[in-house]
Amino acid sequence: MKKISTLDDLKKTGDKGLKSLFPSSVKIVVGMATSGIASGAGEVYEALIAEIKKRKLPYVLTKTGSMGMDFIEPLVDVIEKNKPRLSYGKMTADKVPQLIDQIVKGTIDKIKPIYRVDEEDIIAKREKKQYLKGAVPEYLREIPAMYDIPFYEKQVKIATRNCGIIDPENIEEYIARGGYLAAQKALTSLSPAAIVDDVIKSGLKGRGGGGFPTGVKWQSCVAAKGDIKYVICNGDEGDPGAYMDRSVMEGDPHSVIEGMIIGAYAIGAQEGYIYVRNEYPLAVANLTKAISDARSCGLLGKNIFGTNFNFDIKIGKGAGAFVCGESTALMASLEGKAGEPRAKYVHTVEHGLWDRPTNLNNVETWANVPVILARSGKWFSEIGVPHSTGTKVFSLVGKINNIGLVEVPMGIPLKDIIYDIGGGIPGGKKFKAVQTGGPSGGCIPAKMIDLSVDFDALWEAGSMMGSGGMIVMDEKTCMVDLARYFIEFLAAESCGKCTPCREGVRRMNDILHDICDGRGKVGDVEMLESMAKGIADGSLCALGGSAPNPVLSTIKYFREEYDAHINHKHCPAGVCRALIRYEIAAKKCTGCGVCAKKCPSECISGEKKKAHKINQKKCIKCGICMESCKFNAITVE
């Protein structure tokens, strides 16, 4: 690969990237992030290769990351010269010949695109670049523009600016969209102090959960004594239901690398580590390729951009331990040890990895840095609300129509996320609550739907921003079961070092199991609250310190559900097995006998073509009868 050491080199490489982003021939791009592949993007990609080959078409086929619209994946984009970029959702291998037909004929009669993109907003360069020349062709007028569809309308993409657009394996495309310009500017014309100052001005706070001001952290690490310093990217995204960081690492690995180069230069570090979950093989592969490419171009290594600054990055793979998202545990893991946290009375910016000054930030935080430097801290600080500036990526999952990744300005009302972007609750069910902050966070009930989504407001509501998981729940979600779910998760993930977390969380888990299993006792809720305080105060690290949050917040907002479980042995949502019964509605049952055949405990009986009955004594409440019934005759009581 050609060395890049000047602004002119960057421009030349970027020009090549522009040619592949805005090609002169037909280009088909398949969303091949983990979510896309799981939805079948691999088969679509193979089918496209075969079809293009069969028809001997001069089309270019590439891969990209995730645009965030997981609910309509696999996503295929078609780019033709001077025409809008078109996105097709829910693609299958079967639809590929039709799609190719359409491109050849210049129609959209068989498969309709979901949206069109007339121009790209290249945020790091503050410029727009056109796909479309002239007016929108007649046959595409009915297709909405991307930012006119509700899912995107209120989104602002900074951290995920390139995801789903560029080929993550192509450094030229990253550069074409303003990549490495900020690093070039920082290294060649800014002092470390000026960079730290601008990051402080931006108001950027850690996106991994803590919400500590990034610039202030950098400043402490600058001030720390030591010749050897490290920067770390925390990619150990462990919150269940959260995959923002994976999307960035898979879809735009260079944004993380560039952020780290800038941070390392500002702090005076020469070595960096990216610690990635082992469950993210594609992220590891794309990061590895990106690091290797950056090295070949001279963007990592010695004398970057012709300066005397040297910096390189290594990847460390996690091995399945949630606690390694905690900074000191992560560092222990990087040193080849069990991931046990240590007391942070001496900060890691002074004594971190191998006891040396270390600055650790999360993936999304690092990905924001190049844009801040490119556009200025002031520009960033004007997005969002005071004290919570910029944007935040959320993974919007659970009982919601539009499941996916969304990036929104801080301070957006919760209802905009749930109803406008998320498209509301499926099946006409009622919105009950949203859980944010993962196992360390809490629930926000439906009555607080107008809440501003920012660090302070979420904290005051008894939850937290966390890393960005947003799990939506409807009336069929049991809040006691949810609290039990998180506590069980944390009991299993506790490292076991300190007493309150190791012993306390599992005792809370026992009590919650009792409540869900109909063995709850009067006074259990008070007991949980009192234990929660001791565990939060007494635990060594943030895992234990925040472990009681899901319990406390569900007690705060859904106390009546706890009481129903304990006092009336009743699960209002119909989830907790020991407290529910499956019943067959005689009126709806046709006596087809499917449920009886599927029932693993043979507890359903009845004559053919007559209403069947469930023997409650033998029923194991697996729910397969309800799943199998085509006539909705089976209900949960």
Partner: protein, 237 residues
């Protein structure tokens, strides 16, 4: 010197002193389980917690690891602190119902077993204070024992729960164990610990069995003192 306050008392101590030591030097008692002078500290048991107030912020810290700071206000017995200590003891009582040490300590602090916690049967008297693992690593230098698993399953053991090839039978782990969890059986000629039986060496002078042969071999190898010179017990040396 650093000036600060513990339980209303003005105290000064050298920079780097831990709150625990500063308190004890001034007659203020803080209970501990896992802090042992022979080994490095980990802050694992959380019994020695105190509240540290700096400006408006008051946080719970472990006194065994928290270095004194100018102007800091420490409270060792307020309700918030006692709430943590009580919980820790209740949890340890449920984990190690057979441990006299825990029972006595709980009684001293007026903590009764919590009936809502079912007593464990499989943890014996181990509170996972880590002293044994640290003494084996830091003082003896063989690391024959270590931790396994995590969370509630965490335990101290030899690798694979099999006889350790590197254990020298010195018994330092059993000696440092605050609850008497580690069993060591020494008869005249043998010592049994961690499932392995060690042959004891008889003193060349008085004939008394005084140390495991493996331990003497290890010391000889480590210090370069010939094994012969180590074959005499301390009384006869």
């Amino acid at each position: 010197m650093v000036n600060f306050i513990i339980d209303g008392k003005k105290i000064s101590a050298a920079k780097g002193t831990m709150v625990l030591e500063a308190a004890r030097a001034n007659g203020i008692d803080i209970p501990t389980l896992c802090a042992h002078e022979a080994v490095s500290r980990s802050g694992a048991c959380r019994l020695c917690v105190v509240e540290a107030k700096k400006g408006k912020r008051a946080k719970i810290v472990t006194s065994c690891l928290y270095p004194v700071e100018e102007g800091i206000i420490i409270e060792t017995k307020n309700e918030r602190v006692l709430n943590v200590r009580r919980l820790v003891l209740q949890l340890l009582l449920a984990r190690c119902p057979e441990s006299d040490v825990i029972r006595d300590l709980a009684a001293q602090l007026g903590v009764a077993p919590q009936p809502r916690f079912a007593a464990d049967k499989d943890k014996s008297k181990c509170i996972l204070c880590r002293s044994c693992v640290r003494v084996c690593e830091e003082i003896v230098g063989v690391s024959a024992i270590g931790f396994s698993c995590r969370g509630a399953d965490k335990a101290v053991s030899t690798p694979f729960n099999e006889d350790s090839a590197v254990c020298i039978g010195c018994g330092a782990c059993a000696f440092i164990c605050p609850t008497g969890h580690i069993e060591m059986e020494t008869t005249e000629e043998t010592r049994k610990i961690w499932g392995r039986t060690f042959k004891m060496k008889a003193c060349d002078v008085c004939g008394r069995y005084f140390a495991p042969e493996d331990q003497l071999k290890y010391i000889s190898k480590k210090t370069g003192v010939p094994l012969k010179e180590l074959a005499v017990c301390t009384n006869c040396r």
